[in-house]
């Protein structure tokens, strides 16, 4: 009996298992509805009230299946929403932002609860969740956490930025939450179908967010390129899924992996299937040569969106990458590990080298994100729990430092109202020592200097790779890091070692609570992960071993 048929026959939906997604999605819908209420107090209250009723109805309808705690949590969240909606109805953007933060926080709570419940055994086994399309395992949970952290910081950093650029429209927060929903779903997708759907959910929202500055040609171009190439690569992914389905008779990742495990070299289907899946996922994580969209899209998109893309999308895509390749297709490693190894090496080098000649900082960081994708791939290639843990840890580390770096750029763009080039940073160390210091911290972390998250991340992946007998990749990483250090250093040089040009001297450096909080959080993350990471490493390692 097929999985779908089974789902039809027993329509018990394990709400608890997908509660994080539900929270995000629900928050997104709620913000959207409240936004349509347009600041009208009564309408807002009504919307919130209806949402409350809806949640209650859901709880009642599926009561017996849900663990006792869930309705209470959800109800409490709904009440909070109502209160907030009433309090902030005059400031809908702030309401959206607060609700988004709460949504991300709720998602994290739900994920934490899941983790706790799963170790307790009270959660449904992964195999049967939504007909096996969703897995609640460590990778999913850890990635959800990363995505939510990224989401919160993005909201904090984005608020003033969007205000300043006058593109602070209501649908921003719903889109953010929806794309995050896609990401968390992608992270937990156990079925290729779910992978595809999740990829589309997150991408569609991001396409729109990239083009959020409607009057800005760069933003529009970014969205257009992202969209067209995203769709193009989705087709490859989809074709790969279809071929897997044809070859294995199933789209369930684990089952397909088992079915394909025995295939031999001439089986063109199998090779094409694996290859096209690889293309689709490599596009999402931006491995060379599927990276070419990254600089253009990152550069054109509004900076907070760029940060979110760099941090969260990467984490989610790697989670899927891990699940499909390191987990599902592990038995076929002899086919794809060399290929991915070559791609990873090319990615590390090309990302670093191409960044060297960039003057636009956003573009430089975009290329640097390419290089970092290569580093993270090293953990995946180790094909071990250590490696999985390392990749996840790396992605969290990369999330905090890239969010921080893009966040600083966002602040600076508010100051100068233009794209920031290296020369624009001259003398920043004297004018705004704290901001410059933080930027330097993020850059040093990206460069992998000890005492920062970036170092621990690199240590994790290199260690995993060496453990797995890969010596060439760490050497490539070293080369790449040296080249990369050059351009990070160049920025620090400009900030601290050059004098501020006269035309910049009069422009004040803007400050806002949100960005201050966001940057501080990112900086704290960088330092904590760099100096006392054992707790997070522990979490990542447990996540890697915890199959749900």
């Amino acid at each position: 009996m097929s999985a779908v048929a089974q789902a039809v026959q027993t329509p018990t939906i394990p709400w608890a298992a997908i509660s994080p997604e539900l929270v995000l999605f629900g928050a997104g819908i709620l913000v959207l509805l409240l936004d349509t209420a347009g600041g009208n107090r009564r309408t807002s209250a009504a919307v919130a009230f209806v949402a409350l009723l809806g949640v209650a109805g859901l709880v009642v309808a599926t009561g017996e299946d849900v663990a006792a705690a869930v309705p209470v949590v959800i109800a409490a969240a709904a009440i909070l929403q109502l209160a907030l909606a009433l309090a902030l109805s005059r400031r809908p953007r702030l309401l959206g932002a607060v609700l988004a933060v709460l949504g991300f926080a709720g998602c994290m709570l739900a994920a934490a609860w899941q983790w706790w419940a799963a170790t307790d055994g009270s959660l449904v086994a992964t195999e049967t969740l939504l007909s096996g399309t969703v897995a609640v395992d460590g990778v999913a949970l850890f990635t959800r956490m990363t995505v939510c952290v990224a989401g919160i910081v993005t909201v904090l950093l984005g608020f003033s930025y969007l205000e300043d650029r006058r593109v602070h429209r209501g649908e921003y927060y719903p889109l953010l939450l929806l794309s995050a929903t896609g990401m968390t779903l992608l992270a937990s997708a156990a079925d290729l179908l779910m992978v595809f759907i999740a990829v589309e959910i997150l991408s569609l929202a991001l396409y729109v967010m990239s083009g959020f500055a409607k009057r800005d040609l760069a933003s529009q171009e970014s969205a257009f390129k992202y969209f067209l190439l995203g769709a193009f690569s989705s087709a490859f992914l989809l074709y790969g899924i279809a071929l897997v389905y044809g070859a294995a008779g199933t789209t369930n990742i684990a089952a397909a992996g088992r079915a394909l495990a025995g295939f031999e070299v001439p089986a063109a289907f199998g090779i094409a299937a694996v290859g096209l899946l690889l293309v689709g996922l490599a596009f999402k994580v931006a491995l060379v040569p599927f990276h070419m969209w990254t600089p253009d899209v990152y550069q054109g998109a509004p900076t907070p969106v760029t940060g979110f893309m760099a941090a969260a999308t990467k984490a989610a895509a790697f989670a899927a990458f891990l699940r499909v390749f390191a987990d599902g297709l592990a038995a076929l490693q002899w086919t794809w590990v060399p290929a991915v190894g070559v791609l990873a090496a090319a990615t590390m080098l090309a990302g670093a080298i191409l960044a060297v000649v960039q003057d636009d900082l956003k573009r430089m960081l975009a290329y640097s994100s390419v290089a970092h994708a290569g580093y993270a791939t090293m953990g995946l290639l180790a094909l071990s729990q250590e490696g999985t843990a390392a990749t996840m840890f790396y992605l969290l580390a990369y999330a905090v430092m890239s969010l921080g770096a893009f966040g600083v750029l966002g602040v600076l763009e508010r100051r100068q109202r233009k794209a920031i080039a290296v020369a624009d940073l001259r003398g920043l160390g004297q004018r705004a020592p704290l901001l410059a210091g933080m930027f330097a911290l993020f850059l040093l972390s990206l460069a992998g200097i000890p005492g920062t998250a970036g170092f621990m991340g690199k240590l994790a992946v290199v260690r995993a790779a060496v453990d797995a007998d890969h010596i060439a990749l760490p050497v490539v990483l070293v080369l790449s890091s040296v080249v990369a250090a050059f351009f990070y250093i160049r920025v620090i040089v400009a900030m601290f070692m050059e004098d501020e040009p006269a035309e910049l001297a009069d422009v004040p450096v803007p400050a806002s609570t949100g960005s201050a909080a966001g940057l501080s959080a990112a900086a704290a993350g960088v330092v904590v992960l760099g100096v006392v990471p054992p707790a997070v490493i522990d979490l990542a390692q447990r996540a890697a071993t915890f199959a749900g």
Binding site: L229, I271, L278, M292, P338, V342, V357, I471
Partner: protein, 672 residues
Amino acid sequence: MMAVSALAQASIVTAPAGSPAAWAWLLPVVPALSAGVLLLGGRRLGRGAGWLAVAISAITLGMAGWLVTWLAARPPGQRRVTHTVADWISAGELEVGWAVLVDPLSAAMLLLVTGVGTLIHLYSIGYMAGDERFSRFFGYLNLFLAAMLVLVLGESLLVLFVGWELVGLCSYLLIGFWFDERPNASAAKKAFVVNRVGDVGFLVAMFVVFGAVGSLSLTQVLPAADTVAGGLVVAVGVLLLLGATGKSAQIPLYVWLPDAMAGPTPVSALIHAATMVTAGVYLVARMSPWYAQVPGVGMLVAAIGAATALVAALIACAQLDLKRILAYSTISQLGYMFMAVGVGAYGAGVFHLLTHGFFKALLFLAAGAVMHAMGEHTDIRVMGGLARAMPVTAVTAGLATLAIAGFPLTAGFFSKERILAATADTDGGAALLVVGLIAAALTAFYMARWFWLIFMGRPRWGRGAAPIPADAGRSTAPPPPRDLHPHEAGWTMAVPLVLLAVGSAAGGLLTVGAEHGLLAQWLAPSVVAFESSAHLIGHGLLQAIAITLALAGLAAGAWRYRAGPVATSPASAPVVGFARDAFRVDALLRAAVVTPGRWLAEGAVWVDTHVIDGAVNGAARLTRGLAQGGRQLQTGLVRGYALAVLVGAVVVLVLLARTNLTAAVFGALGAP
């Protein structure tokens, strides 16, 4: 063939507690402390600084005397004592202590150093009076004394080397004492650097010794000579010789000494005539058991000595500067000493060392007095007739001139004769003997020239100055002022002159008595002398020849310069000019060493900037180039990106399909 003397070296014993030898370490410490005081706070002492230094020097003389008396009272076999004060360096197996070795050889040197040192300290009070760095000068002098005593007393080669280097430092400081003038500073640096070249030999010799013996302590090194492989002994001998040629200004490393005359004259007397420059001789004598193993190396020492004696004497004949003449004379006399120690006549060598210490110090001091009188002029062509104005100086200097020329019964006569006799008694010493005799004659000639042009004849200064022949020299030094009134300096300068003159005259007493002379007998426990069966010429006849040559040289010098400087005849002009330029050795060295060295340095810089930095910058440029290339691909056209995706897909498929191939490539890069 020479054979090792049957007289075995006395063994080295530890100094009895409380004995003078156990306190010998104070000898260098006292002047060192005094030097510290003088250098740090001497300015406040004013003229007292000089007297303090003199007192300290006298104290060391007293201590040395006490020590030597004590030593002399011991039986000859017990006259080599050591005393260890403290550990110094213990790195791994290397253990060197601060220890002194008192034996007849060091005792003789002690007396010379402290004795002449004290006299020159005293002389300097007058000579340096009024100098703005008066106290510093005496600080340096005391420091030198300390260093020289370390050199003499060092029980291990390394401690000896410490003294060796420190005297070099003092020499550097004192040559460049009037550093405001660039040439002085350059001369100081040259002295230091050339000495350092020699030091490489000393250093490497120590390495070899340590490798062979496992210790640098003389107590162990000296007796071990006959247990060490012959090749190593030769190496040590030659390397030490290199060191000695540096310090004692022998060919090829003598070039620094003439320039060293830039220092104040007492310095020339003390350091560059009487004491420091004899360190090389001392070193060879010290290591006599090793040289005794390899007579061939000894002959090399002697040959270098002989060549130096001759060359320096020739140059001295053409010099015009009163101190330079003495400097070349010193080089030449040191050559004599090398000849002596080279043929194993340590007694003769050390004897000449001592007598030379007296009369050469005296000559320099006299020269200093003359310079004082002449307003610091040094060109002997503008002097003459000074005997009348400065009788004491003239008489004492005359005595010293006779002594150095080997006038019968003077100290120099005895010591030089001993050396010539020793060469005559050496197998294969004929050439040495001939060279030695020629040099002796030349010495008499140039010293007569020196004395005559300065003290005798008509004055060529002041109002009644006699004209100087136009081509007598190419020096363009301005003539001294017309209103000169030369006169004797004060008693502090005269007393040392007189005392040294006594030494120069009576130094020969040291040699009366026993077969090889008192001194040789005294030194016997310290050195391994040679005995030789050769007997080229009867000693009586040799003496006669030497006396004849000395007298002839003196007479020739006096006769030729009886009326002042002599115009060079056109035929001999190139020869004289060549000698006056010291055979252009400096220029040769510059061309052979300094210029290639500069090229090498420039080459190294070129390699740094072009090759190494070039490689670094090249790597950066390559990166940048790659990036620019990659940039071209990033066209901004979405269709191009799609193409990249498609191409990438094909590449991935190929990689997957050709797994074996990929694995081969990847594996080569990867796992071990």
